[in-house]
């Protein structure tokens, strides 16, 4: 049987990979994916915990996270498209009109 810790480590690993990706990649779409990775890292941990504790809350939260993530993706995509129309780039280094 797989100990709970393994799942939790896996979850945190996925979370950290997502975080790392978010901080290092410059392409907005990849950054999207990274955030999804972070959320899924959380989801793995939640489902595992929920199962091990025989408590439904974790799974409920997971469902909500998935739904919110979808909405987030839609909004994020819309924002990127709106930006793209004014400035055709998906490269983040070029998006720094405001600073200081």
């Amino acid at each position: 049987m797989v100990p709970l810790h393994w799942y939790l480590w896996l979850g945190s690993l996925v979370f950290c990979i997502g975080m790392f990706g978010f901080l290092t990649r410059r392409n907005v779409i990849i950054m999207f994916l990274s955030i999804e990775l972070m959320l899924n890292g959380v989801n793995i941990s939640l489902v595992a915990l929920s199962h091990y504790m025989q408590d439904l809350r974790g799974q409920v939260l997971t469902l909500f996270v998935i739904a919110v993530a979808a909405a987030e993706a839609a909004i994020g995509l819309a924002i990127v498209i709106a930006l793209f129309r004014n400035k055709p780039t998906t490269h983040l280094d070029e998006i720094k009109e405001m600073k200081g």
């Binding site: 959380v42 939640l46 809350r57 939260l61 987030e72 004014n86 009109e97 405001m98 200081g100």
Partner: protein
């Protein structure tokens, strides 16, 4: 099926329903002002059901108590004032769409849920509803690149922070097997573990992001500058207050046993925030950006209330946010007034000699700047006074002294605006003002409230104190 169990959440239900109605109305109504008026009426309807709402629902996941109701009133004020200052402004920005108002209502709904949440799941949902709506609102002027950029930055960093929040929630869940904020304390039994450190830190970071505590404030200046000014005003009060509500609830009930730990973190962040906010505000020549840094600094002050804790600290924090709502939106309302066709009106230079060309606008700005500085007899003074008093009462006199020092520094950039208006001669063509009845109404309300709160604060103080119970 017992309908009465939904009573505590009735205001939220009404708000959600009316927001949907507003969304549909947008499809059929071409005069968008009407929708704005409808949004304000919706607030009236929601306020109407609030008195009957007290109680707890959904197995203790949701509560309507004095604390949440006080915050809800802050959100309503925020919404009403933001709607009032938007109506003319949106026309000037050529972004008159009805979704704007329903999004504001949805964002307010999210805030209400956050304030009432006694379960981390509900808290997360409220936060996301608020955040997703404000992401769109920040980028609402679609043809403006700065607005796009603001939305993009806010969105990515916001999503990042909500992932961090989720991880914090997961840690708490792992430790306690529950997500109920009230049950957390009893489950933890005051035991410190590595996971708990993770949980506390992650929650501080996530809430710190929404409140704009340094160093999690980095998004604030850019987003506030790029977003439509009316939304900047909206964002600088509502979401911030909602995050404060959640912070206060989670940390002073669920994690109260670990107060020394999170208090230490918050003190450090508070000082850093006041420093960054005030010092960088001095550097700004764009008034929106300056107000963004100022709002960062004010978050640093308000967090002192949470640090001080107890009924006195929390009520001081609530009061501060209440007062801040008026003075900050008032200041933004003046900024909006200077935005006319073809002139951004955001630069400090635009305020040169305003007292000569538009004395009334200058006087109003003067009042708000005085209030933000904390000069009596304006509301800002009262807010700061009670915050610092709470800090002294809780044994953090030195922190109050630090905050006072930073307040003095803040006078430099607030009063610089006043100096530009009163000491400098107007240059070139006199600036035009975009006035309108709703904007005038908003200015009237904010000015009166700033003065009344400064001169006769006791009823409001009593209200906050009562709300804490």
């Amino acid at each position: 099926m017992d309908i009465t169990i939904i009573k505590p959440i009735l205001p939220e239900i009404v708000m959600a329903a009316l927001a949907c109605v507003v969304l549909i109305l947008e499809l059929f109504i071409h005069k968008k002002e009407t929708i704005g008026v409808f949004a304000i009426l919706a607030v009236a309807a929601v306020s109407y059901v609030i008195p009957q709402s007290f109680g707890s629902a959904f197995n203790g996941m949701f509560i309507s108590d004095g604390y949440s109701v006080f915050f809800k009133f802050i959100f309503f004020i925020n919404l009403i004032l933001a709607v009032l200052i938007s109506i003319r402004y949106l026309k000037i920005e050529r972004s008159e769409f009805g979704e704007y108002y329903s999004l504001m209502m949805f964002a307010t709904l999210g805030m209400m849920i956050m304030a009432s949440a006694t379960d981390l799941i509900v808290l997360y949902l409220g936060l996301e509803l608020m955040a997703l709506s404000t992401y769109i609102l920040a980028g609402f002027i679609r043809h403006d690149r700065r607005s796009n950029e603001a939305a993009l930055k806010y969105f990515f960093l916001g999503a990042f922070s909500s992932a961090i929040l989720l991880y914090g929630i997961t840690m708490i869940y792992a430790l306690t097997g529950t997500t109920n904020i009230l049950a957390i304390a009893s489950q933890l039994q005051g035991k410190m573990t590595t996971q708990l450190i993770l949980a506390i830190v992650f929650l501080v970071v996530a809430f710190g992001f929404k409140i704009a505590l340094a160093p999690f404030h980095m998004w604030t200046p850019d987003v506030y500058e790029g977003a439509p000014t009316s939304i900047t005003a909206f964002m600088s009060v509502g979401p911030k207050a909602a995050a404060f509500a959640a912070l206060g609830r989670v940390f002073t009930t669920g994690l109260i046993d670990f107060a020394p730990d999170w208090r230490g973190i918050l003190i450090a962040l508070s000082i850093l925030t006041m420093a960054v906010g005030n010092i960088l505000a001095i550097q700004q020549s764009n008034i929106k950006r300056m107000l963004a840094y100022s709002s960062i600094a004010h978050a640093g002050y308000a967090v002192i209330g949470v640090i001080a804790g107890g009924a006195e600290g929390l009520s001081a924090m609530m009061n501060y946010l209440f007062i801040y709502a008026f003075m900050n939106i008032g200041a933004f309302a003046v900024v909006i007034m200077l935005r006319v066709e073809g002139v951004k009106g955001e630069e400090l230079e635009h305020y040169r000699g305003l007292a000569k060309t538009h004395p009334l606008a200058a006087v109003l700005m003067l009042i708000f700047m005085f209030s933000l500085t904390g000069i009596p007899p304006t509301g800002g003074f009262i807010g700061k006074f009670y915050l610092f008093k709470a800090a002294v009462g809780a044994g953090y006199a030195w922190l109050a002294v630090v905050a006072v020092v930073f307040s003095v520094i803040s006078a430099y950039f607030y009063l610089r605006v006043v100096m530009y208006m009163y000491m400098h001669e107007p240059e070139g063509e006199p600036a035009a003002l975009a006035t309108s009845t709703p904007l005038g109404l908003a200015l009237l309300i904010t000015t009166i409230m700033v003065i009344v709160l400064g001169v006769y604060p006791s009823p409001f103080l009593a209200f906050a104190r009562l709300a804490i119970g």
